[in-house]
Symmetry: C2
Subunit: 309 residues, 2 copies
């Protein structure tokens, strides 16, 4: 099935306890597209970069089967840039620099041949922009998944509520779920958030795994792989989303049972992402490696039990 990814294609500069990078390739759209490219060869992306963005990176995406016609290249403008520094526990970070640049007035133009796409993944962007994409599609995709962040809850709540009401799956982290619902209990938070519209909610808990809820309050818990070292968490959430929606597009099955598998696949892809700086680890995976990683999740989570009473 075809997949349309919308998200930033950008530069990041990252500092972790393990090292520091200059400007490297980043952006939610990049991580999502790289991750989902292992599952579908019919992927399209909508994004925007400046004239400073390396053409080879765009060509690389193209080489992975990603249709890049929807990436606008703005002459005389600069690409979105984010710089951050992780704390020693790797669970929190400070943003050092955010230069919106081309993202400031991003008008998400949908090329004609993108119409009729089956799956839509809205990476973290202004909710008004995410909504524009949905509205510019002539036909509603089979499934719309969306990421967002607390920043939009702070400054664009009404927009966020409008957009959230239009999607099938919302993917956020625990802190965002708590802020969005004003509830500490994630079970209570899930109910409140799904009442805002989405049929499914995924709450990512970083090193503590991820929860998948549906409106009947079925719950699935995917563990995170216990790792010796998290080298760089940047992009792990986007990589998760890419693995999740890529797997759904590949299998063309949006049942709750298959969403469980998709969450495991997202977790597996994210576990690769954090092993190296930036997108490095995502660039050279193969099916056998991914299968082996999924096998680790099976062995991590699997048990069989009969009554002893």
């Amino acid at each position: 099935m075809s997949l349309l990814t919308v998200g930033s294609v950008a530069f990041d500069a990252i500092e972790t306890p393990f090292g520091k990078t200059d400007k490297i390739i980043g952006g939610a759209g990049t991580y999502i597209a790289l991750s989902s490219s292992y599952f579908t060869s019919d992927q399209k992306i909508v994004s925007v970069v400046g004239e400073d963005f390396p053409n080879e990176t765009l060509e690389d995406l193209k080489g992975r089967g990603v249709d890049i016609e929807g990436i606008q290249i703005k002459e005389g403008e600069k690409t979105f840039f984010w710089s951050g520094k992780y704390h020693n526990d790797m669970n929190s970070r400070d943003t050092l620099v955010t230069e919106l640049n081309v993202l400031e007035n991003f008008d998400p133009i949908i090329p004609e041949n993108y119409q009729g796409v089956d799956f839509l993944m809205l990476g973290n962007l202004a909710p008004a922009v995410q909504r524009q994409v949905i509205e510019r599609l002539n036909e509603r995709p089979k499934l719309i998944a969306m990421d967002t962040m607390n920043f939009w809850m702070d400054i664009a709540w009404d927009d966020l509520m409008e957009t959230v009401a239009m999607v099938d799956v919302l993917i956020i982290n625990d802190e965002e779920a708590r802020q969005m619902s004003k509830e500490y209990s994630l079970v209570k938070a899930a109910k409140i958030i799904m009442d805002m519209g989405p049929k499914y909610l995924i709450i990512k808990k970083g090193e503590h795994g991820a929860l998948l809820f549906d409106k009947e309050m079925n719950v699935f818990f995917a563990p995170a792989l216990p790792l010796e070292e998290v080298f760089d968490p940047t992009g792990a959430g986007d990589t998760f989303a890419g693995g999740f929606v890529g797997y759904l597009a590949k299998t063309d099955d949006i049942s709750f049972e298959n969403m469980k598998r998709a969450v495991i696949m997202g977790s597996a892809m994210a576990s690769f992402c954090v092993e190296k700086f930036g997108t490095e680890r995502l660039q050279n995976l193969d099916g056998a490696e991914i299968d082996a990683r999924v096998e680790s999740f099976v062995s991590l989570a699997h048990f069989q039990m009969e009554s002893v009473f």
Copy 2:
């Protein structure tokens, strides 16, 4: 199989955002014994109480098949008392009062008919006292499990190291694992701690579940049940330990595969414990309820996956 539990039988006074208790029955030994009593009717306990401790509680334990000959009742002395107040997130608490009383000079006397016990669960106590129990058993039990806490790491490190080297399974929480190993990564922490002696390590992560490691670094992850409300977390860790070791005693199988099931059973029992204040919820369970709860864990964690490549 027979199980010997060693741990405090005590009074607690608890304050949570949901309410406040006067002195109620608590203590690691109490929670462990109550929890494991659902799995083995051949249980013995070693503990100490003051003359202020209600006889009906001891009789209740007896009625659950717990041999209480090893509970010393100290004339003219008072029972161990702990009082604590939970913060709003329920993940942290302040200790308001700790009166050691009878625990101050606890000499764990092993009744003659306790000898030859198959399983030993050492609840959180001074590591020197835990070691004394091991040394006073004529025969080494088939499996020795042990709980401890950061307090002993602070004030009795050498004693702790001696005792830890003698046990098969150490059960601690994530914060304690980090303090004990001086490593933030739980995978690295697990290696370091198992090098101190234990063949198996369980790291409890509260609402984030529990990890089971063996020395070959096989890992199993048991989720915690996502709950709407945690009413009172007191005793959840001890209840976990009781479910874990009780299940092992019932099934008489100490393979890694069966330990996985035991960890799930511990998690299931702990999920009941937090539903009401103190030991209340643990007093009236039945096999069908426990089976249904285990079923929730199966549905929470289970997925089946085949390669898509």
